[in-house]
């Protein structure tokens, strides 16, 4: 991508896990049988009227505060008018020029470099129903029929729009992941990309220099993982220069990421579809978030990832691990918290969590909640290493055993015969035996050939089936050699 600057903005939709929908009392439940959580309001029946969900307003405010936004004391719902079968009223109640939250920012780290991505707004709206296409493999083209499920219609949705501050595909991914972690840490949404409770669209354009005017932007949809988000943006950042360099023009359009083919496809252009004829929603009063309420909501914010990371670093965790742990699974961070509160060394625990534990989970393809590891286990393991009853290598093996459900660290170490021998007198006996069978080598050690120590340590390890604590063995050998 020589000579072109990438200009990327990300739009995020977050489904809130409130008990009831945004404008009616229907339950929010994604596993329910089709059309069982519906009522006149979310079906758009004649005569129905919306009533705003207060908890949703509280939670969007929480999201905005976590993203360093200003919160509007009064904001306005608007009707966004467009016809679509999954939109029961054929308008969406959304927000237009006065959103609940605005002018925030998020720090994003890519390869050790931190940048700030400004956030334009977070506004409140409602989700649509779902179209289920029957026949032709579930795609809309050549489907025999379409079934409409309105369980999702009316679920509270928060739309978060960044400024076009992102400059690479990697940064786009990092922004999305960081945002996702922040939202998940607030307890307002599952924020699972795979389940659709968080969705990302990217707006991508290019320009020749960093103070040239913005180029034509293209909207990319249908990226269902962080990896595909990065790949899709990357693809666009190769496609657009090719188009321009061959004399073509970038068309302002929406493109669909095709995971299988690794390309974006142009979606059938909808003429006039961008005039939504927004007007203030006459069925709803303005949303009021008083200073008092806002501050009360702010007091419920948990420790945010950036603050967490700083705290981990002061505890002695190395920078990379601190970033990973603070920005990753809340459950993993919780284990770290629990273990260190029980006295485990933060640096060691952080290494295990970001290393062995994460690798195990990936191999076994499970979530950490579904493994057997607890903070107590980690603390126990750490104390065993400190006490010398487990070598660092053995500890990793024990960790795997604990995660697989074989029992506590003590039990697993016993069962797998990994308990290290640190007892000095026991090891002295072993050392003396080895010395006894290798007198010439020992003489060389006494005479000053340091590298012979390795040989002796190796022999002692062999004699003790690897269970001798090498540090203690080393020390005994030096004493014996008068060194």
């Amino acid at each position: 991508m020589a000579d072109w600057e990438a200009v990327i903005g990300i739009e995020v939709h977050v489904e809130l896990m409130t008990e009831s929908k945004m404008f009616c009392g229907c339950r929010v439940d994604f596993d329910a049988q089709p059309n069982t959580n519906v009522c006149p309001v979310c079906l758009g029946l004649p005569g129905a009227l919306p009533v705003a969900n207060q908890k949703a307003i509280e939670w969007i405010t929480k999201i905005g505060l976590a993203l360093n936004c200003s919160v509007s004391e009064q904001s306005q719902f608007h009707r966004k008018n467009y016809f679509y079968a999954d939109q029961p009223k054929n308008y969406q109640i959304s927000q237009f020029d006065v959103p609940v939250c605005h002018d925030g920012h998020l720090e994003v780290e890519v390869d050790g470099v931190t940048t700030t991505v400004r956030i334009n707004r977070a506004h409140m709206e409602e989700d649509t129903g779902k179209s289920i296409h029957v026949g032709a493999g579930g795609r809309i083209h050549s489907a025999e029929s379409t079934r409409m499920d309105f369980n999702r219609s009316g679920v509270p949705l928060v739309e978060i729009v960044s400024e076009a501050d992102i400059r690479s595909a990697a940064e786009a991914r990092a922004y999305a992941q960081t945002l996702r972690t922040v939202v998940a840490s607030l307890g307002v949404s599952d924020a699972k990309l795979e389940e659709g409770s968080i969705r990302f669209d990217a707006n991508v354009s290019i320009r020749p220099g960093d103070d040239s005017p913005f180029g034509t932007k293209v909207e990319i949809k249908n990226m269902n993982s962080f990896r595909s988000l990065e790949q899709a943006v990357d693809y666009e950042l190769r496609r657009q220069p090719e188009v321009l360099e061959s004399g073509g023009e970038i068309i302002q359009e929406t493109r669909h990421w095709d995971e299988a083919e690794g390309v974006t496809h142009s979606m059938r252009a909808k003429e006039g579809s961008s005039d939504y004829r927004y007007f203030p929603e006459p069925d709803l009063l303005p949303i009021v978030v008083s200073e008092k309420w806002r501050e009360q909501i702010r007091s419920t914010l948990p420790e945010l990832p950036a603050q967490k990371k700083e705290r981990y670093v002061t505890l002695g965790v190395d920078q990379d691990n601190a970033t990973t742990l603070a920005g990753g699974s809340v459950v993993l961070a919780g284990l770290f918290q629990d273990a260190t509160e029980r006295g485990a060394d933060p640096r060691t625990v952080a290494n295990w969590l970001t290393g062995e534990v994460t690798a195990y989970l990936r191999r076994a393809d499970i979530a950490v909640e579904d493994s057997h590891i607890t903070g107590q286990h980690l603390a126990e393991l750490a104390s065993m290493v400190v006490a010398g009853s487990l070598s660092a290598t053995a500890a990793k093996e024990v960790l795997a055993g604990v995660m697989a459900g074989e029992g506590t660290p003590g039990k697993v170490a016993e069962a797998r015969d990994l308990v290290q021998i640190s007892d000095v007198s026991a090891l002295e006996a072993a050392v003396d035996t080895v010395i006894g069978s290798n007198n010439d080598q020992f003489q060389r050690l006494v005479d000053g050939e340091d590298k012979v120590i390795g040989f002796f340590v190796g022999q002692v390890m062999k004699a003790t089936s690897g269970k001798a604590d090498p540090k203690v063995v080393n020390e005994i050998l030096r004493r014996r050699a008068g060194r």
Partner: protein, 488 residues
């Protein structure tokens, strides 16, 4: 002896309490009147014989247990834009032909709880858009006073039913005058409450910021009784007034001594028919004799209010009627794609006036035009609110004729939509401001057609409104009832 179908609600309450007749008998009298007149009038789209009889029996049970008053056992007509569970609700449109709502409007629930007997659903201009009920997809309703003339609109069916005796009271909706104008044309008391006083949940929306449900009655007192049965906060309607409901009849008979009555000069001069103006001025003289001070009040913005209304209402309706697309309920006309299905359904399901207003509203909201049309109309609306608020500093109530004419003949205004829109010029301001307003019959013109006198009061001023309306009724000769023989 008055035929029970011609009782006022007060008289009916008395008769029921004195056990002179039962609720079931009262209903039968009403149903008999309906069966005599409906072939001619077509006030009703659906008469719910079974449901009404059941409700009357239940009312009789409650009466027997000693309960009295309110609307217990009183036969009521409901405009067919209020959803009734299990009873067809069409908004007089083909697009809802046969639609059976799965829920009751809040107003309907309250009426049932009060023991009212819902006789059936009455005709209207399609989706409440019109001033004559000629826009109904199911045929017009005739004015009981003269069947060659319109009953007014859009709540023409409820007005005709109550005027003819096919119900003792009725409810309609008023967005630009759709209760008050038919009340004037049919010799009834028709009233639009303060916006938010009555729940809109279950009222098929035309213009969300303007619509209100209100009563049709034979007397001012009945009107207050009807309103009291339905008014009050509804948590299902976010625009519903959360405060205490005023005691509507609290100052009903206090008269107008010492009150200042402001004549809105812009609504009471040129453009009003001579006979209507004469009746209006006669009433003013009588009110002055009764002790009121009559003052002229100028509200210049009213000249622009009609235009503002005919941008705001269509704009809101264009969004409110978008849900009628054949996907989930009502008429569906098939097409090769979903878009085609929706557009064929709507083309076939909507009548010309509804189509006209949807197009007008869509245009007024569209990019590049929003500020000049919808935005400008809202600014005029704000000015209307302010000028009326200032006017209420100068007078306790404001008055005008209800409509520029008496009931016109069928077809007289259908050729030119704008001339039809002009019928609303006096009633529209109260919809824009949200203030309550009422029409009281004050006489008949030389053709024997009723003339309506409009009183307007500040928001939440229903008690004062009813008080002045009662005084108007007291000083006027009763218009009586239309002759039924000519309708049979």
């Amino acid at each position: 002896m008055t035929h029970p179908a011609d009782f006022t609600i007060s008289e009916a309450q008395g008769a029921l309490e004195a056990k002179q007749l039962s609720a079931s008998e009262l209903l039968e009298a009403t149903l008999e009147r309906a069966s005599l007149t409906e072939a001619n009038l077509h006030a009703y789209l659906t008469i719910d014989h079974e449901g009404a009889r059941k409700a009357a029996r239940q009312a009789d049970g409650r009466l027997a247990a000693g309960e009295t008053g309110g609307l217990l056992g009183i036969p009521i007509a409901l405009k067919d834009n209020m959803v009734t569970r299990g009873l067809p609700t069409t908004a007089s449109s083909k697009i809802l032909d046969g639609y059976l709502p799965p829920y009751d409007a809040t107003v309907v629930i309250r009426l049932k709880e009060a023991g009212a007997v819902v006789v059936g659903k009455t005709n209207l201009d399609e989706f409440a858009m019109g001033s004559s009920t000629e826009n109904s997809a199911y045929g017009p309703t005739r004015n009981p006073w003269d069947p060659t003339r319109v009953p007014g609109g859009s709540s023409g069916g409820s007005a005709a039913a109550v005027a003819a005796g096919s119900a003792l009271g009725g409810f309609g909706s008023d967005t630009g005058g759709s209760i008050r104008q038919p009340a004037a044309f049919c010799g009834l008391v028709g009233m639009k409450p303060t916006y938010g006083m009555v729940s809109r949940y279950g009222l098929i929306a035309f213009a969300s910021s303007l619509d209100q449900i209100g009563p049709f009655a034979r007397t001012v007192e009945d009107s207050a009784t009807l309103l009291a049965a339905i008014a009050g906060h509804d948590p299902l309607d976010s625009t519903s007034y959360p405060g205490d409901v005023p005691q509507f009849a609290s100052e009903l008979h206090e008269g107008v001594e010492g009150l200042k009555i402001g004549v809105v000069t812009e609504l009471s001069d040129a453009g009003i028919d001579t006979e209507v103006l004469t009746a209006f001025n006669t009433t003013l003289d009588r009110l002055a004799d009764a002790g009121a001070e009559i003052v002229d009040v100028s509200v210049p913005v009213t000249k622009a209010s009609l235009s503002a209304y005919y941008l705001i209402a269509p704009a809101e309706c264009s969004a409110n009627l978008a849900r009628f697309d054949g996907v989930r309920y009502g008429l569906r006309v098939n097409g090769a794609t979903v878009e085609e299905m929706m557009s064929h359904t709507r083309a076939e399901g909507f009548g010309p006036e509804v189509t006209r207003r949807i197009l007008l509203g869509t245009y007024a909201l569209s990019a590049g035009y929003y500020d000049a049309f919808y935005g400008q109309a809202q600014r005029v609306r704000t000015l209307t609110i302010r000028e009326f608020a200032a006017a209420y500093e100068l007078a306790d109530v404001l008055v005008s004729p209800t409509a520029p004419t008496t009931a016109f003949a069928f077809g007289a205004k259908t050729q030119d939509p704008l001339s039809m829109y002009m019928s609303d010029v006096c009633t529209i301001p109260s919809n824009l401001t949200g203030d309550p307003a009422i029409s009281v019959p004050v006489g008949l013109d030389t053709a024997g057609l009723p003339i309506g006198f409009q009183v307007m009061a500040p928001s939440l001023g229903e008690s004062r409104l009813f008080r002045v309306a009662q005084a108007v009724e007291d000083v006027s000769e009763s218009v009586g009832r239309p002759s039924i023989e000519g309708l049979v």
